[in-house]
């Protein structure tokens, strides 16, 4: 049962129960919607970029503990950082959750708690949903909040 406890670590349960940066932004410049058809998870991600920096970020939606915690941790880890850093972090996170279980992974600080999904192949998508949505939002042209 240890792999279950690896998956549902206390940090993840905490972020699931009390997600950080949950809600909508007043004036987002970028936005994207993520959807996982397998489980019906939906996620709306909003960002306010200011001079190449993620000045503010928030998410809303319903999802499993893994996708919710991952979204919460993601927003925490990119908030206040340059867009280039956020993109680099996307790559590193993606690498971490897709390396085979049992092989060593880079230490990504708090984000490392999600490396447990490697034992649960169908759950990798839950952990990556927020990150793919982040990438989609960053790749998109800036939008005004009045849209």
């Amino acid at each position: 049962m240890s792999d279950l406890n690896d998956l549902y670590q206390e940090v993840i349960l905490d972020h699931n129960r009390r997600p950080r940066n949950f809600g909508a932004l007043e004036s987002p410049t970028h936005q994207a919607e993520g959807y996982n058809p397998l489980c019906g998870d939906r996620l709306v991600l909003q960002l306010r970029l200011d001079d190449g920096v993620v000045a503010d970020i928030a998410f809303e939606g319903s999802g499993c503990a893994i996708s919710r915690a991952s979204a919460s941790l993601m927003t925490d880890s990119v908030k206040g950082r340059p867009v280039a850093d956020a993109r680099a972090l996307f790559e590193r996170f993606h690498r971490m959750v897709t390396t085979p279980p049992d092989s060593p992974v880079e230490d990504l600080g708090k984000l490392s708690v999600l490396s447990g999904v490697r034992e649960f192949p169908v759950r990798v998508k839950c952990a990556s949903l927020a990150w793919h949505t982040l990438k989609a939002a960053l790749d998109r042209e800036a939008r005004t909040s009045t849209e």
Partner: protein, 417 residues
């Protein structure tokens, strides 16, 4: 084929039934398999597995073609399977039994070769709010093409179809009524006899999606009086890739072919082709011969166990499961229709169904989590998804107990409310 249907059993013995299903002996990461995902697909009894091997090892050949012995044997086995299906659904002739890939193909066949001819701007197709996507999307496609409208009969908070609302929707504009005999997401068994009567009063044909019903309750298409009935083999303890469309002869006769190709013609020139007799007009190309034979054996098996006995046993486990799940703090059943079978759809306070599925899987319990290809049903009940345990003839009260313990474990791992 040498497979012989076992003698009819007088009393339902679940241990004996379980012994016929080899997969039930395997373990899941060291724990006994508790398979409660039967609404997705059922497991296969040994005679079905043997029938596939025996067909390929002994009589494999194409059907309705060669004059050689193997082709004769294969054709004979394939057509005997059709007769078994006919008897199972009590159709009046084998010409009314079309083999398809699955129920989805059967619905598409009727949508395209029947409904599309009758649809025009202003006409309507009536379905219910509890349909599987396979009984929604084909109608949306033909309605969009012909400028027709899809109307949806609502369901109440228990998951029962509101018959008066359905009645209100049926009128001179209605081209066809298409509803599930039983809901895959809620377990509701619809009053199909009443539905057919309501439609008939307006001369409207009815298609019933029997994907879920056919392996839980006896189906008599003549007694029900429907025009079309579709079912899928892999839920009837048969192989995947084989399904059945029953169509009333008068309707099938008047319909153009759905797919063109070999076997469905009586003659072909470059100027024109003429169509083969029923049911071959609707079976273009080499069919799933082994699948049909396997399905025939599965239905023989089901009849030997006895559908009435199976239904009674499943109702007992369903009642037990309903009580056991309701007793768990924070568990809410979705779908409590007056008449239902097999399905225990539920949510747990503060815990997403996907997390439930992952944790119970580690206890050896296979359930489905998600929207069950019935997103409108999820929307109706205001949940993004549910966890669904679904029973079959080999399900036991003990398995329900394992599920309940696994759900307590879910609470332990995830906390929740």
């Amino acid at each position: 084929m040498t497979t012989v249907a076992p003698a009819r059993r007088t009393e339902f013995d679940v241990a004996r039934v379980r012994a016929d299903f080899p997969i039930l002996r395997r373990d899941i990461r060291g724990r006994p398999l508790v398979y409660l995902d039967n609404a997705a697909t059922t497991q296969k009894p040994q005679p079905v597995i043997d029938a596939l091997t025996e067909y390929y090892a002994g009589i494999n050949a194409n059907v309705h073609r060669g004059v050689h012995l193997l082709s004769e044997l294969a054709t004979d086995a394939y057509e005997r399977a059709r007769e078994t299906v006919r008897a199972f659904f009590n159709a009046s002739s084998t010409g009314e039994i079309v083999f398809t890939r699955n129920a989805t193909e059967g619905i598409n066949l009727v949508a395209y070769a029947f409904a599309r001819q009758r649809l025009e701007p202003g006409s309507e197709v009536v379905i219910s709010a509890m349909e599987h996507h396979s009984n929604i999307v084909p109608w949306q496609l033909v309605c969009a093409e012909r400028g027709a409208t899809l109307r949806v009969a609502p369901i109440d908070d228990r998951g029962d179809l509101i018959l008066e609302e359905l009645e209100r929707l049926i009128g001179p504009r209605t081209a066809i009524v298409a509803v599930a005999h039983m809901s895959n997401a809620l377990g509701t068994i619809n009053p199909v006899g009443d539905i057919v009567r309501l439609a008939r009063a307006h001369g409207v044909p009815v298609l019933l999606d029997g994907s879920q019903a056919a392996y839980h309750l006896p189906v008599d298409v003549q007694a029900i009086g429907c025009d079309f009935y579709v079912a899928t083999g892999h839920k009837l303890y048969g192989p995947t890739g084989i399904g059945v469309l029953y169509g009333r002869r008068a309707q099938l006769d008047a319909m153009p072919p759905f797919l063109g190709g070999g076997d469905m013609i009586s003659s072909v020139t470059f100027e024109r082709s003429t169509w083969n007799d029923l049911p071959y007009k609707f079976e273009a190309g080499t069919p799933n011969i082994a699948g049909a034979i396997g399905l025939g054996v599965a239905l023989d098996y089901l009849r030997s166990v006895g559908l009435e006995a199976v239904a009674a046993h499943e109702q007992d486990v369903l009642a037990y499961g309903t009580e056991a799940l309701s007793a768990i703090d924070g568990v809410r059943l979705i779908g409590t229709a007056r008449r239902k079978a097999s399905i225990l759809s539920f949510v747990m306070d503060g815990i997403h169904p996907h997390d439930i599925g992952t944790v119970v899987d580690r206890e050896g319990v296979a359930i489905r989590t998600g929207h069950h290809c019935a997103q409108p049903v999820m929307e109706r009940f205001g949940v993004p998804a549910t966890a669904r345990a679904s029973l079959a003839m080999y399900s036991t009260r003990e398995e329900v107990d394992v599920l309940v313990r696994a759900l307590l474990r879910v609470r332990e791992v995830l906390g929740g409310s």
